[in-house]
Amino acid sequence: MENTLFTKYLFKHPSVLVFLTLLSLFTLSVVVLAEGFGFGLISTSFVKTLGKTLCLCMVAIAMDLVWGFCGILSLGHFAFFALGGYMIGMWLMYARTELIVLDATQSLALPLTKTEITEAVGIQIFGVVGGSEIPLIWSFADLFWVQLILVILVPGSLALLFGWLAFRSRVNGVYLSILTQAFTLALALYLFQNDSGLRGNNGLSGLQNIPGFDDVPQSIISIWFLFGSAVVLGIVYLLAHLIVSSKLGNIIQGIRDDETRVRFLGYNVESYKLFVFVITASISAVAGAIYYPQAGIINPAELAPIASIYLAVWVAIGGRGRLYGAVIGASFVSLLSSYFTGGQAPDISLGFATIRWTEWWLVLLGLSFVFVTLYAPKGIGGLFDHIKGK
């Protein structure tokens, strides 16, 4: 029954069907071509880049929901993304350090007590910031399921609190954008402190090592994560599509176009904005929790205000107000960005000066943003309208 309902939905909304098919094909071909699995045409680090890109697509979908559909230009969604990463990173780091400690003390005649283990783990993790005590916020770090719930719970509650305060006071437009920037900056500055309990500017590292899977090579783990990222992206896309094609989708687009009219139709606009804000913050957090084990390291620089601005640029270039536009924008721009800033693009010598792409990429990005805004306000995704129209 469930199955027929699902297939019916797919045929009613062909864009979802096309997206899910392309996503599966993409994942399948990467798995087949990857180093760890068969042909070895795609290096492990590139598999990780692709897996990370899929996670960025999820945040872009969240951004599209909150900005493209509901009209809230949040410039702070990367804060939720990073927080999700921190939450899962705490478990990864704690559990692995604990395993290492147990391993190193195996030959001792007297096995360590629980307190001794905790102390040893504390020194290992917090020695770098001059501490050894395990902070209170790490209370559940050894429990995978609890940290997994915290991945959604912590960013979700923060979004709820922030959104409730902001929307209740009817902060709108550019003022709200500035407030979200301040929010992510404040959080980053807090995390930069050594006594924040999350290792200050060192952040959490070694996240690519999954506790208990030490004997599995990274080339295989990277494929697991790519696969996982693809599955979650598929679910997020479907979920987002369900939201925008429901009556709630009509309402939030109404809020984007004319908030006052929605209010005078008897809808409590604030609770709708809050709903969308919290849902998208949670999606971002889940994306972050899958992203950072592939990146291997997370530090407060990830919460820099500029990251969230890039997110808006991706969605604008891809085409806001359409979900596939967000995916196109995020994947296209972030892959190009890692190509140009990764030192792979050849420098262009003009005789009197040399164009180094690591520096000039930002200029290129800026120019394409201006170009899209002026000549293709619907973004790359808008091109599909022309194809459909003919």
């Binding site: 009556k247 006052t260 005078f264 008897g266 409590n268 709903f275």
Partner: protein, 246 residues
Amino acid sequence: MSQLLHVDNVSVTFDGFKAINQLSFDIGNCELRAIIGPNGAGKTTLMDIITGKTRPDSGDVRWGDTGISLLRFSEARIAQMGIGRKFQKPTVFEKQSVYENLLMSLNNNRNPFSVLTYKRNRADDEKIQNLLHQISLQSQKGFLAGQLSHGQKQWLEIGMLLAQDPQLLLVDEPAAGMTAPERKITVNLLKDLSRTRAIVVVEHDMEFIRQLNCRVTVLHEGAVLAEGQIDFISNNQDVIEVYLGR
């Protein structure tokens, strides 16, 4: 005729300018009422106060048989309680279809979670078909609201108000930008609707108000200048001086 809305001695000041000055005003059940007045007389501010957009400095607005004060409710709550408002400029959701515009306005549960899980059903579809018939937009059902003519948008907005099934309709300049035949349809629509609910029409156009043939309230400098049938109003010396004579 029992009383539906009672505006009691309300004043509001914007930066020292008295937009509404100790204004009192009553609307009965199923009454059709027109409000006229020169620019700055406080017509729109009065609507803002009734619908909760502006809080008055003093006075009270009482609603329904129980005489409950509206001042402590939000715009959304007041709309849910049965006061619908049409803006001066037609405001419809231009990027969505006529059908969707009406669907959103239907008097269903407005909680985000029940809106998310809402399924289209036959009863609601029939309601929308009836509304489309009432506002003469049957054949534009699938159009984007942005494609409608100015007059059609005005009707659509009235239809959206009707979908909420309000007891009181506040209609700001319904005839603005309408052709003569469109005006005629609008007059008949408003008259027809006022048989089952109260309607307050704010309008500049005296000819339109003459066609409505209802009680008229003249506002001037934030207070009621005169009230009565159209013939009484058009012969009132004060009204002629401040408004009609110009």
